[in-house]
Symmetry: C2
Subunit: 358 residues, 2 copies
Amino acid sequence: MMITKESLEHFTSQVFEKMGCSNEHAQLAANVLLKADLRGIDSHGVARLSGYVRLWEKQRINTSPQFKIEHETLTTATLNADRALGLVSAPYGMDIAIEKAKTYGCGFTSIINSNHFGIAAYHAMKALPHDMIGIAMTNASPLVAPTHSTQRMLGTNPMCYVFPAHSHQPVIVDMATSAAANGKLEIAQRTGKAVPVGWVQTKEGSETMDANALKNGGSLLPLGSSVANGSHKGYALSSVVDIFCGVLGGANYGIWVPPFVAFLEPLSNLPGQGLGHFVGAIRVDAFRPAKEFKRTMDQWIESFQNADRKNQDQPIIIPGEPEYNEEQIRSKEGIPLHESVVLDLMQLAEKFGLHFNN
Amino acid sequence: MMITKESLEHFTSQVFEKMGCSNEHAQLAANVLLKADLRGIDSHGVARLSGYVRLWEKQRINTSPQFKIEHETLTTATLNADRALGLVSAPYGMDIAIEKAKTYGCGFTSIINSNHFGIAAYHAMKALPHDMIGIAMTNASPLVAPTHSTQRMLGTNPMCYVFPAHSHQPVIVDMATSAAANGKLEIAQRTGKAVPVGWVQTKEGSETMDANALKNGGSLLPLGSSVANGSHKGYALSSVVDIFCGVLGGANYGIWVPPFVAFLEPLSNLPGQGLGHFVGAIRVDAFRPAKEFKRTMDQWIESFQNADRKNQDQPIIIPGEPEYNEEQIRSKEGIPLHESVVLDLMQLAEKFGLHFNN
């Protein structure tokens, strides 16, 4: 099924309002989810809407949060999100960082007591119109085992960095620090296909191509996949994200990060509050004139686009380019929804007495 | 051969003085190199000393630099290193970042017109006594091909993040963004051993286990190694480092980063000045009381040390732990030098009329 961005965003926003979000929060949350669907990150768009609803039903998401700055300096803030949707708290925290960066050169916000924030790129990209570098990270419920371990200790913990350019689209790095994102594994599960060695290990820590290994007590592998190919680096990067997002402001970290799925309860004796995000903005003209920086970014991009190809048919990809291209197409042609997602949304429509334009 | 830290540092410092460094710069540069040797990063210690000498002989390193801040805000600075040793300019830039962080919460310095800076961890670790998170990155001469490319476009571009703890040693992430550091490949070349698939590709972009493939026109692979296992993520991370270090302040980037080896000339029509570093410091008490943060870091570390093991004999490693342990041993027992390094140092002793205590 194809649906226009406008219809899907309108429906999504109505669902958030039915959950008790203010009109402003509902529109923002819907906008964040739709950005994922437009950019082709289907795992982080409306496919997750019913998941947020279930967390709200379990009272793990507060749809009328009172945001509170718990700690602050000229360039930093720790924001207690009061169990809000991360879809709402992260843009709010990013606005704080941007305001501080305007005056002082850079700004960073640690957001605690929050929930899943959608795609990191949405938040980091808020820096772009201000000619700032944007940074966004979040920790997430544990699925990834450190090198030499069989235990799920870390989330897929994404790192996102965005850099404005002049004539070209910005460079947007938004990546899980695991070898493969969980969404890719889920697709393989649905289609019954084998996955490459290096994505997941069994409960005992053995190599496997079984997409269901994660469900059966296994774990995702860090970027690098194996000891020989540097999985300790993926583990270390994921740790950096966990420390910035969990430890720095006082959210949960490691095994204690609350699960996204509502059927799993958070552990008891939590060391922190909710899950955590870390967002930041750095003015490029704090280092050199913005126009110079952005023109040099254009040259950087062109030099990589022109790099020697392994196969003539496969261009070198600039980070963020495939998502930008997808956004152009889907903005015009509409967003394709998987059958199971359509069903999910129709059930939400029924639950809340809404009309889903199927 | 075993040598004490003190003798080796004294000798190294004398060599830098003979190159024209001030006493202060010579001691600092020697201290940075020795830190690598103590921590077991032999590829970045005195093994490189003769390389710096050769660059100086070619007048690509200026041993009496005039540092100049070209651009500055309350929290940021762009430092023109005047072709200094990165061993000297990076600690200087880090001191600027730390001073700014003391007053404003965080501080960042972009260092341009510089040279190889040794191990990133030395610079980032300067933040630790101030209860700050330390960040250090550098770009480097191109050896790594982007995903789908056969061209060396990026250096091994390390990222380093350090986090202070209370009773435990700090967490220190210092990693090349390639699957394997060049030093590891060089060891395999010396010993004639095959390397794992995923470290390097041939000139044509094919898989290989030949350690000499790099010498024969091939390239190192980004972290992730293959398309299936996420090499686009390693490529993206390396790009982040290249943009922060090269583009942000106005140093060279990509293929134009000047080679470390003196027998390769820099390309003509350089778009920037020298190579670039990016260093920064963030006060932890800008987000929560430092004692709270550091005690939580202790708990974070302990939870990872206690993670389920794949093999009972192989503990889970905390980033920075092996290097710290090596430093304890080598500080007591001395630093083991490879025969070829001893020879190299003896030749330097002869060149400069110094005594090398063999």
